[in-house]
């Protein structure tokens, strides 16, 4: 692989990153090539020693996306970061996606419960009409209590969602650190 092929491949794989960031990264690899050539090494040897541009780009993208997700709360960024981290390898897919899917299920379940509690007085009114007997009033009262519980559960879930997001991002960052060393063997 020539210097230009290597840099082109790397650039293509880095699509989607901030333009400045990309230019910065490419400049560094270009500098590496230039200094190596000055020292009398040949292009293909240098490219070979650098490793697979695709693997390198994946590492870089993964850490950039996690950094971005750390800075701003955005579901899109989070999913991008998870996807990229997972694409670092099957091993990684399991340890990233496994806990994530589990947590997501739990989270969705709690949200549904909170919503159901919250609307329970409406359901009660819809099913039984306006309360006339004492038992009806009791049911309505109970459903109002449920609604209050649902309200607080819902607020709690908003808080939990923020925390889950932060923890997930931190877990991803840790995870990428853990997998990074692998590319030595893929080169």
């Amino acid at each position: 692989m020539t210097k230009e092929t290597f840099l082109k491949k790397l650039e293509a794989e880095l699509q989607g990153l901030d333009a400045d960031e990309r230019a910065d990264i490419l400049a560094e690899y270009r500098e590496h090539f230039e200094l190596a050539l000055e020292a009398g090494r040949d292009e293909s040897g240098v490219a070979l020693a650098l490793g697979n541009p695709k693997t390198l780009a994946k590492e870089i993208r993964a850490s950039v996306l996690v950094e971005q997700a750390q800075q701003e709360l955005s579901m899109k960024k989070l999913f991008q970061a998870i996807f990229t981290a997972a694409s670092l390898g099957l091993f990684n897919l399991l340890i990233v996606a496994g806990p994530f899917v589990g947590l997501l299920g739990l989270w969705a379940g709690m949200i549904v419960v909170a919503l159901a509690f919250l609307v329970s007085p409406l359901i009660e009114l819809y099913m039984n009409g306006f309360p006339t007997t004492g038992a009806d009033w009791l049911q309505l009262l109970l459903s109002l209590v449920l609604a209050i519980v649902g309200y607080f559960l819902g607020r709690g879930m908003i808080w939990v969602t923020k925390w889950m997001y932060r923890w997930l991002v931190r877990y991803l960052a840790y995870n990428i650190k853990l997998v990074k060393g692998k590319s030595h063997n893929e080169a």
């Binding site: 560094e28 500098e31 590496h32 200094l35 000055e38 590492e59 870089i60 990074k180 060393g181």
Partner: protein
């Protein structure tokens, strides 16, 4: 994929120690490491990038007599603390492993 985490940690330690000795540009650093340890040279750059983002390195460009300006890395104060911590952990680890290898001595 043997010893992923081990190799990765050691590489990080080497990079921190070398840049701590004197400011270095990427190529110099890659060379001084690959002289001793077999690595895929390209992985040093993402590592440098991450350590810079984490505030352990600062960077600056400096002109050279021949060729383009070079991007130098310098160890920051928090980088020094981090390096010292890693070196301590490493010494401790090596000490324990050695005491197992030599055997006999209180394990």
């Amino acid at each position: 994929m043997e010893n992923i985490q081990f190799k990765k940690g050691v590489l990080e330690l080497c990079v921190l120690v070398l840049v701590g000795r004197e400011d270095l540009y990427g190529y110099e650093l890659v060379n001084s490491i690959s002289k001793h340890i077999e690595i895929s040279e390209g992985t040093i750059y993402p590592l440098l990038r991450r350590l810079t983002k984490e505030g352990y390195f600062s960077t600056y460009l400096m002109e050279s007599q021949e060729g383009p300006p070079r991007k130098y890395y310098r160890l920051t104060d928090s980088g020094m603390r981090y390096r010292d911590e890693l070196v301590r952990e490493w010494d401790d680890f090596v000490g324990r492993v050695n005491s197992i290898i030599r055997g006999g001595e209180e394990a």
